[in-house]
């Protein structure tokens, strides 16, 4: 069929309270062929992930209305989170901490953006688990740095699948508990 051997479409969750910056980051990410969900606050980000802000482990997410990314498999929905640092309410740093404290989401790479070049801030974010720290305005060259972090996530999870022809869409690839799609008579485990 037509979708053979396409790379898994990565899904990035972008968090920024600025409308303009959201538009920019969305365009930057889409240009790089990522699927994007953009939200305007840390709490909306957590909501989208299916975390209700108390680090509940929403494993199969059966109780939630399933609007969120944690539909198929809690680790599939979102492959990377990129967030602004300075936001009212929950800062990007607060969000980073919550993600890293969640057993469901701690392995999702988190990138922080900020318009302010404050070394202590940058170091703190990196020490507490952020993969990268981008100074705003974010450029295409910054977004290009995301791919290795995303690829790392794929290879650790399902090494086989990234190498086989895919007949179905990306959603089904990393759902070990769903019906396993067959790829060329190989059953993926």
């Amino acid at each position: 069929m037509g979708n053979m051997a396409t790379q898994t479409e990565f899904h990035v969750l972008a968090v920024d309270d600025s409308l303009i910056d959201r538009k920019l980051i969305e365009r930057l990410l889409k240009t790089s062929s990522y699927q994007v969900t953009a939200v305007d606050s840390g709490s909306k980000a957590l909501e989208f992930l299916g975390l209700n802000g108390e680090n509940e482990d929403e494993e199969r997410n059966s109780s939630v209305e399933s609007v969120s990314a944690a539909d198929e498999d809690h680790q599939v929905g979102v492959n990377l989170i990129i967030t602004d640092y300075c936001m009212p309410g929950m800062t990007g740093y607060d969000l980073l901490r919550k993600i890293k404290q969640s057993s469901s989401f701690k392995d999702i790479p988190v990138v922080i953006m900020s318009s302010e070049n404050i070394p202590s801030r940058i170091n703190r974010c990196l020490e507490d688990g952020a993969e990268e720290f981008f100074l705003k305005p974010v450029k295409l060259s910054d977004v290009n740095k995301l791919r290795p972090h995303l690829m790392k996530g794929i290879t650790t999870k399902n090494e086989m699948q990234s190498n086989t022809n895919k007949r179905k869409g990306s959603e089904e690839i990393q759902s070990p508990d769903r019906t396993r799609p067959r790829y060329n008579e190989l059953e993926v485990v």
Binding site: L19, I20, D21, K23, K136, P137, K139
Partner: protein, 144 residues
Amino acid sequence: MDRNRLHNQVASMRRSLFDQGYLDDQFIQLEELQDDTNPNFVQEVVTLFYNDSTRLIQNIEQALNSRPIDFCKLDDYMHQFKGSSSSIGAKKVTNECTAFREYCNAENAEGCIRSFQQVKQEHAILKRKLEVYLQTVRQASQTA
């Protein structure tokens, strides 16, 4: 040919916007993000900026008119303003925002008020220039 003239006009307007320091490299980033699938990206972002910044200007005016002046709130608004203007490559506007924030940090009301006039001025000048420039770009692209 009309088309060449228009294209030359676009090129020269664009060059002067950069040469005169109204725009910086970030604007080029916006241009690079525009393509056939998003043919109006630059205009969309500029429009968003002007809508958003108009709102912020009103907020800042209000904050500057209240007594006592809440410098924290002022700084917050200006942080947003500066962020947006920097995101579209509005160099002079961004610089005026930086100057404002310095007065703000020093809690210098007079300085803030004066500086804000500069911010508004640059904001308005750029708006006019961008309107003309983008209109010319549109005309040039339609004259195939």
